[in-house]
Amino acid sequence: MTLLASPLSVVELACAALSAIVLVGYLVFRPPLVRGAKIALLFGLGVFPIGAAFSGNVQGFEATKERAFCGSCHVMALHAADSDDRASGSLASRHARNAMFGSENCYVCHANYGMFGTVLTKAGGLRHVWLYLTEYRNTPLDEDKKEIRLIDPGMMNGNCMECHSTEDALWLKVPSHFATVDDTRAGRLGCASAGCHGLAHPFWIPEPGPKP
């Protein structure tokens, strides 16, 4: 529960409670529509619900970044469980143990970067919901593991490079980094691939081969 974690939740609950008091009061007493009743209803049907909706939407958008949110669809249960596993050596789990990623590690690594990254990520999330409803809702987890894959694996390197810039001298001193730097930056060679840093998730299925 995020009730105590966020003041927005408290604001939303307070607005909703105040609105409910006004609305239930109107439904019980049914006063004539005089000026006082109109003002009370303006608050009960307008001001307080808008306050609740605004704070609730911001809170909702924040909730969509949490790993618990991503893992609430059964097809992501294994991925979320792996990130939760502090003993796991996967890239996802190792990043989840980093405070910069923490409980939002799914979002931090998978969100599109750039100016409209958040909007694109949310639009992509709606696509995931559509696919879940139409294709994966009733499929067994073993089947999902084999079928679900990244739509744009090349984008992932861009996300890695937000922290690991590939410009640092120490990074370039590593022979395999130096030899593949152009392919890495272009997204032709995945940082999270079997020959490099390993699969991000133990269940993730890489693309058949490097893109031309």
Binding site: T2, R30, G44
Partner: protein, 84 residues
Amino acid sequence: MTAQSSRRWLVVACVCALAALALMTWQIFDPTVWPVMVAMSLGQVLGTASFGAFGYVVLSDFRAQRRAAKGSSLPQTSSLPETK
């Protein structure tokens, strides 16, 4: 719009708003996919519709009052519905 129908509209608006508030607060206690999606879609639609219904009732009442005020200045009384 008669007083009875405006009252009915307001009752519907209040019920819709209460449902919207319930849907919007559900996501706080269970921040998973469906509660959040429902809060941001159905909750918003119901809330907006209830506010729209309230606006419609208030506007209709205002127009009826204006018409009544105009009618009272004429020699013959009009057959305006009760707006209280």
